[in-house]
């Protein structure tokens, strides 16, 4: 065991560094990621260590970054892209969804596109518009992409390395509000594969499911619930596409009640898909409808309203109370 106490952003930095040491074809691309080290400093120090040909301060053009990364992947490289903020990914939408996602299929397997696109996402950082969205649903809907999101530094350290090793394109959503809190990282073993969901707190009464920054909110809600005599089982989805349903269904079959929480708007979202599948596959175990606790179906509001918009532990507990009332 090699345990380090690290913030999530630093864990990704170390994971990227390890991946670059392991494979000379791993290169980083993005805006301000080199000399500056990224606006969140996630790539800090890597340009100095690996050089400007492996840590590229690219021109400011998201489609250009993803499109040229595709060409580099055709050449045998494994590009890891940083999109500076969530809402800035859309200029690259064609290159991600019509090109990157479908090119292996279009080539009938003759070429692989192991490109990782890192996207900082989510609220609680008080930023201006386009900086706090949870826009994962666009990518979950696209065949050919894998989508993951770590909730803690240990997972972040390992999942970024596993995403880079994947032979498929991976959209890697990093919860910005979790960049700074520290937690233990075991740098000797991952313990979970990239596409595993996992129980992060066992319980018996209600299954509560989330990903990214929402996992901390769920753990907080579980603490409060415990003081009120309710036992919540908290599941970290980790892999949004594909979803590892086994631990989720096992939990719901045990508790009979399920609440899904996310920062993203609820309409046609990860929570929608989870709720539908849980209902199909665990119908006879359910004692109550599966409830979703989500951001509203509005644009992400100005920062002074984000605390109202974003689901907090009280909104989660309100839903827990409702599923327990059946």
């Amino acid at each position: 065991m090699a345990i380090e106490n690290l913030p999530l952003g630093k864990a990704i930095n170390l994971g990227l560094r390890q991946a670059m040491l392991n494979d000379p074809k791993v290169i980083l691309m993005g805006e301000d990621i080199g000399t500056l080290g990224g606006v969140f400093r996630v790539t800090e120090g890597l340009k100095n260590e690996f050089g400007a040909d492996r840590v590229l301060d690219t021109p400011l053009a998201e489609s250009g970054i993803v499109g040229s990364a595709i060409g580099l992947a055709m050449r045998g490289y494994r590009p890891v892209i940083e999109i500076q903020f969530n809402g800035f990914v859309y200029p690259a939408f064609d290159q991600i969804t019509s090109q990157l996602a479908k090119l292996t299929n279009r080539h009938e397997g003759a070429m692989q596109f192991p490109v990782v696109i890192r996207i900082p996402y989510g609220g609680h950082i008080g930023a201006v518009e386009h900086h706090q969205e949870s826009n994962e649903a666009y990518f979950l809907h696209t065949a050919g992409l894998r989508v993951v999101s770590p909730s803690n530094p240990h997972d972040a350290y390992w999942m970024i390395q596993e995403a880079i090793q994947s032979n498929d394109p991976v959209i890697f959503f990093e919860p910005m509000s979790r960049y700074w809190p520290k937690a233990d990282v075991d740098t000797s073993a991952s313990n979970f594969p990239l596409h595993a969901s996992r129980v992060v707190r066992p319980g018996n009464d209600v299954t509560v499911i989330g990903h990214g920054a929402m996992v901390s909110v769920l753990l907080q809600a579980a603490e409060v619930a415990a003081t009120e005599g309710m036992s919540l089982e908290v599941i970290d989805v980790r892999s949004l596409s594909p979803i590892d349903y086994a631990p989720i269904l096992e939990s719901v079959r045990k508790t009979g009640r399920c609440v899904i929480a996310q920062e993203a708007p609820g309409n046609v979202s990860l929570a929608s898909e989870l709720a539908a599948t849980i209902t199909e596959k665990a119908f006879y175990s359910l004692e109550a409808p599966v409830l979703r606790v989500t951001g509203f179906d509005t644009p992400f509001p100005p920062a002074k309203l984000e605390a109202i918009y974003l689901p907090d532990s009280d909104r989660v507990l309100d839903a827990v109370d409702r599923v327990l009332s059946y």
Binding site: D53, A61, G67, S68, G76, D94, R106, A110
Partner: protein
């Protein structure tokens, strides 16, 4: 087109087929001069064969054998000349009308037919040595410009160009049309190519129409100047002069592989046919315009040159027989093509195992089998 725009173009053959290099052709003359009579005849033959193929594919579409066809009729000079200018180590990123280039680089053009018959989205494997690094078609206009640029960045990072050996130094050439020059991805590709000084040629086939919209809507300045603001020099060439297309592309690729960075070629040509078999060009362009371009046809021009140079009638007869045989072979093999297996749609969506693909392909197999169990197909 007004004649003054033709003046600065690189041209070796007049529309009548007379050898009369333009002033701008001078720096490209050595590339023309290294061509042999056999090369001249090969260029002609390739143009005739691919036009005959194009006609056959158009007929196959009309007879319901293809869902769609994308004619290349009229653009053979730009394509055949530039394709022969590439070296075997070069990578070619086409749009979706570059049938002649694919043929010259070594793909079986039946693979293009397979795409347009609805059997595959890709067609050929560009990683196979016999396919000449001819990448698969891209249907989203201009997207491939960035793939080519990224590939060129990779060539540079690999140190696989500008080593001083023109027989191994690599370059990329990307093809797109006048319409694509309006796409953001093409501009972004020019930015990235300039920043990273990729060993790259941007080859614009200006066929004057983006479906129904004239090039004047895409650009208020000549397209060969489009690169200048990005720091990428441009040259315009008579794209219906196969020699000019060859010589300019060969020189620009040599410059690219010797560290001079990216450049842009605008080849003036014309889409004699429709945009696709679904298009009706009579709704947006005049007969007079069409006739003026037919008078500048790349094949008749080359035929006149070859006849003036002493090529016998037997040569032309042989070429036309070979083209007819080529087309018959394509027709025969097209109607024999088999539909893909239903389960194939789950293949290669992902490279690594994926539970949804496994689950859904198993479900489909069971569902299909359930009809057999009920006695008789569906």
């Amino acid at each position: 087109m007004a004649d003054e725009t033709l003046d600065p173009m690189v041209q070796f053959l007049t529309p009548e087929g007379h050898y009369a290099p333009s002033a701008s052709a001078e720096e490209f003359l050595p590339y023309f001069q290294r061509l042999t009579e056999a090369d001249h005849r090969k260029f002609y033959k390739d143009m005739v064969v691919i036009r005959r193929f194009d006609t056959e594919a158009t007929n196959l579409q009309r007879q319901g054998q293809l869902a769609l066809w994308v004619p290349s009729h009229g653009q053979e000079g730009a394509q055949v000349g530039s394709a022969h200018a590439t070296k075997k180590q070069d990578h070619i990123f086409p749009a979706y009308r570059e049938h002649a280039i694919g043929m010259i680089r070594g793909i079986d053009v039946l693979e293009i037919i397979r795409v347009l018959r609805g059997l595959t989205h890709g067609g050929w494997d560009p990683t196979l040595p016999e396919h000449g690094n001819f990448h698969i078609y891209t249907l989203v206009i201009g997207s491939q410009a960035l793939h080519a640029t990224g590939y060129g960045m990779g060539i540079k990072f690999d140190g696989a160009t500008n080593t001083g050996n023109p027989d191994t130094d690599q370059a990329v050439i990307v093809y797109f049309g006048d319409g694509a020059t309006s796409q953001g991805d093409v501009s972004e590709a020019l930015v990235f190519a300039a920043s990273y000084q990729t060993p790259q040629v941007f080859f614009v086939q200006n066929n004057h129409w983006a479906i129904s919209v004239p090039v004047s809507t895409q650009a208020r300045v000549p397209l060969y100047k489009r690169g200048e603001g990005f720091g990428i020099p441009g040259v315009q060439v008579d794209g219906n002069d196969v020699f000019a297309s060859y010589a300019v592309t060969a020189k620009q690729l040599d410059d690219a592989r010797s560290g001079k960075g990216p450049s842009l070629i605008e080849a003036h040509t014309y889409r004699i046919g429709a945009h696709t078999s679904s298009d009706d060009p009579t709704k947006y362009r005049t007969d007079a315009e069409l006739e003026s371009w037919i008078a500048r046809d790349p094949i008749t021009r080359m035929e006149a040159f070859l006849r003036n140079s002493g090529a016998p009638q037997s040569f032309f007869d042989e070429v036309h027989q070979e083209a007819a045989d080529f087309a018959s072979d394509i027709r025969r093999r097209t109607v024999d093509l088999k539909n893909p297996e239903p389960a194939s749609m789950f293949n290669h969506v992902y490279t690594d195992p994926h539970p949804l693909m496994e689950e859904q392909s198993a479900w489909l197999a069971n569902y299909e089998a359930s009809f057999d169990e009920q006695g008789g197909g569906h």
